[in-house]
C-alpha cells in the first residue's frame, strides 16, 4: 500500500462539485506535485486530507491509518501536516515560540526540553530563519512567514508535509531562494512532500510525479516530462 492512499474522494459544496472521484497514491520519499487553475480543487483536496473538511465520499489512508473522520490535530500527530496558502502564523508569538508549540504537540509524544530545543533549531536551520528566531512572527516579511509555515510543519515531526503555494506572492529572488530551500529539504529522504504550486516551472523542477486537476477532476497524471507534453493540459493551461 502507498504511503498516502486517496481513493475516490469527492467533495460537494451545495451544487458545486469541488472534487469528483479523485484517487492518487503518494510513495514514501517522493515529491508529489498538484497542478491546476484557480478553483480546480487543490486546496480543497489539502483540506480533506488534513481533516479540515469532511469528504462527501471516498477515503484517505495514511501510513496504514484511515484518516477520514479524524480531527486535524490527530492527523498531525499521526505524521501528516499542511501549510496554508494564506499564511496563519501565531502572530503574537516569536518565531521560535511558533515552532516550540509545533514541537510540543505535533509528534504526540512527550519530548524532553533538550529534544524540543533541538527540533526547533533544526527547523529554523532548514528554512534559514535562525537569525530571526526572537522576532514576533507578525514582524516577518511574507516570504519569512511562508518559511515559518514550512518550519512549523517540519517541527511537528511530520513525515509527510503538504505545501500549499509557498511561492505565491514572492518576488523572483525570493522564489529562487525558496526553491533552493525545498531542493535542500528533498535531500532529506525521510520526508515526503505533496506540493501545490502556481509557479509551474518550480513545480516541474521539484516534482517526481504530477497530477493535474481541472474543475475537481483528475485530467492527467505522470512525470513532469509527460505532463509537459500532455494535450489536455496544454489546452487547459495555454488555451
Amino acid at each position: 500500500m502507498a504511503f498516502l492512499d486517496i481513493t475516490g474522494v469527492s467533495k460537494r459544496f451545495g451544487g458545486l462539485m469541488a472534487l469528483s472521484d479523485v484517487s492518487l497514491q503518494v510513495e514514501k520519499g517522493e515529491i508529489f506535485g498538484l497542478m491546476g487553475a484557480n478553483g480546480a480543487g487543490k486546496t480543497t483536496l489539502f483540506s480533506v486530507i488534513a481533516g479540515h473538511v469532511a469528504p462527501s465520499a471516498g477515503e484517505v489512508v495514511f501510513n496504514g491509518t484511515r484518516l477520514t473522520g479524524l480531527s486535524p490535530s490527530r492527523i498531525c500527530r499521526l505524521g501528516l501536516c499542511r501549510t496554508f496558502q494564506i499564511v496563519r502564523p501565531f502572530a503574537g508569538l516569536t518565531v521560535a515560540e511558533n515552532l516550540r508549540v509545533a514541537a510540543l504537540y505535533g509528534s504526540g509524544r512527550k519530548l524532553s526540553a533538550v529534544e524540543i530545543a533541538r527540533v526547533v533549531d533544526a527547523a529554523l536551520e532548514a528554512v534559514d530563519l535562525s537569525d530571526r528566531r526572537h522576532l514576533d512572527a507578525a514582524q516577518l516579511t511574507l516570504s519569512g512567514q511562508k518559511r515559518l509555515e514550512i518550519a512549523r510543519a517540519l517541527a511537528t515531526g511530520a513525515q509527510l508535509v503538504m505545501l500549499d503555494e509557498v511561492m505565491a506572492g514572492l518576488n523572483p529572488t525570493e522564489v529562487s531562494a525558496m526553491l533552493a530551500t525545498l531542493e535542500r529539504l528533498r535531500g532529506d529522504h525521510r520526508l515526503t512532500f505533496v506540493i501545490v504550486e502556481h509557479v509551474i516551472g518550480a513545480l516541474m523542477t521539484l516534482s517526481d510525479r504530477i497530477l493535474v486537476l481541472d474543475h475537481g477532476e483528475c485530467i492527467a497524471f505522470g512525470t513532469p516530462e509527460e505532463i509537459g507534453n500532455h494535450d489536455r493540459v496544454a489546452e487547459v493551461y495555454f488555451g
Binding site: S73, F84, F90, E97, Y105
Partner: protein
C-alpha cells in the same frame, strides 16, 4: 513565584494585627485576586473572554449553602469548587464552540439564565434568601481566602509556563493553525475552562460563609463578572502580576467608594476599563514594567 510567597506572608501577617476592618479589606482583596487569576487561566491564555464568571461563584455559593450544617465547611467548600468545575465541564463543549464577541455575550447570557433559574427554584421552594448560622471564625475564612488567592496565582503561573499554556497561547493566536500543528484544541479549551471555574466556586462558598446570607440575585450578580474582567484587563493579561495589580487597585477603590457612592464606583470601573482597552492595552503591569525598565 515571589509574588505568591509575598501574598502568603502578607495574608498570614494580617490576622495577627487583628483589626476587623483590616481583615475585611484583606478578605476582599484576596477574593478578587483569586477570581481575577482564575479568570485569566481561561481568558488571558486563550483570548476567550468570559463575561460570565459570576455563574461559577454563584454555583459555589449555592452548593455551599445547601450543604452547610450537614458536612464540615471545608468539605462544603471542596464540593463548591467541584460543582463549579463540573458545571463548566458540562456546558464547556458547546459553549467553547462559539468564538469572539459571541462567546463573550454567550457566557453573560448563560450566567443570567442560571441566575434566573435558581431564583425561580428558590421562590418555588418558598425561600426568599437563606440565613446560615454557625459559620467559622473570620480569621479562619480569611486564611482560606488568602490560600485560594495564592493557589490561583500559582496555578495561573504554572499554566502559563507549561506545555498546556503553550498550547493555549497557540489557540489564542490562531485556532485553525493550532489544530493543524497537533494541538488538541477542543480538549485544551475545555480543561482551561474547568480550571478557571473551580476556584471561583470555592470563593463563592467562602464569600457566602462570610456574609452568612444567600440570595440568588446577589450570588449570581453580573456585576461580579464585570468587575473580574475589568480588574484583569486593567491590570494586564500578559503577566501573572497583572490581575493582582488590578484586583488590589479596584478592591481598595471599592473600599473608598462602594459604601457611599456605589454608582460612582461603577462609573469609574467602566471609564477605566474603556480607557485601558483603548490606550493601555498591556494594562498596569505593562506600565509598571516599562517604568521599571526605564529606571
Amino acid at each position: 513565584m515571589i509574588l505568591g510567597v509575598a501574598l502568603a506572608v502578607f495574608g498570614a501577617a494580617v490576622p495577627a494585627f487583628g483589626s476587623p476592618y483590616l481583615m475585611g479589606v484583606v478578605f476582599q482583596v484576596a477574593m478578587w485576586i483569586a477570581l481575577a487569576q482564575s479568570w485569566s487561566m481561561l481568558s488571558a491564555t486563550t483570548g476567550y473572554l468570559s463575561l460570565g464568571h459570576a455563574v461559577f461563584y454563584g454555583v459555589g455559593a449555592y452548593v455551599c449553602v445547601l450543604l452547610t450544617g450537614t458536612i464540615p465547611f471545608e468539605l462544603a467548600l471542596l464540593a463548591a469548587a467541584a460543582a463549579a468545575a463540573l458545571f463548566a465541564a458540562l456546558v464547556g463543549m458547546p459553549v467553547l464552540r462559539v468564538r469572539g464577541p459571541y462567546f463573550v455575550i454567550l457566557t453573560y447570557g448563560l450566567s443570567e439564565l442560571v441566575r434566573h433559574v435558581v431564583m425561580r427554584i428558590e421562590s418555588a421552594l418558598g425561600s426568599f434568601g437563606r440565613m446560615i448560622f454557625d459559620v467559622p471564625a473570620t480569621e479562619v475564612l480569611l486564611w482560606w481566602m488568602v490560600g485560594l488567592a495564592v493557589l490561583a496565582t500559582l496555578g495561573a503561573y504554572a499554566i502559563r509556563h507549561s506545555r498546556f499554556g503553550a498550547g493555549l497561547a497557540a489557540i489564542r493566536e490562531d485556532e485553525v493553525a493550532a489544530e493543524t500543528v497537533g494541538v488538541p484544541v477542543t480538549r485544551l479549551k475545555l480543561l482551561a475552562f474547568i480550571a478557571s471555574a473551580a476556584i471561583p466556586g470555592a470563593v463563592g462558598g467562602l464569600a457566602l460563609l462570610r456574609t452568612s446570607y444567600f440570595e440568588p440575585a446577589q450570588a449570581f450578580d453580573p456585576v461580579i463578572s464585570f468587575t473580574i474582567v475589568t480588574m484583569a484587563l486593567v491590570g494586564g493579561t500578559e503577566t501573572v502580576r497583572g490581575p493582582i495589580l488590578g484586583a488590589v487597585g479596584f478592591a481598595l477603590l471599592s473600599e473608598l467608594l462602594w459604601s457611599s457612592l456605589p454608582q460612582l464606583y461603577m462609573i469609574v470601573l467602566g471609564v477605566t476599563l474603556i480607557a485601558f482597552i483603548l490606550f493601555v492595552p498591556r494594562g498596569l503591569s505593562g506600565l509598571v514594567g516599562r517604568i521599571g525598565r526605564a529606571g
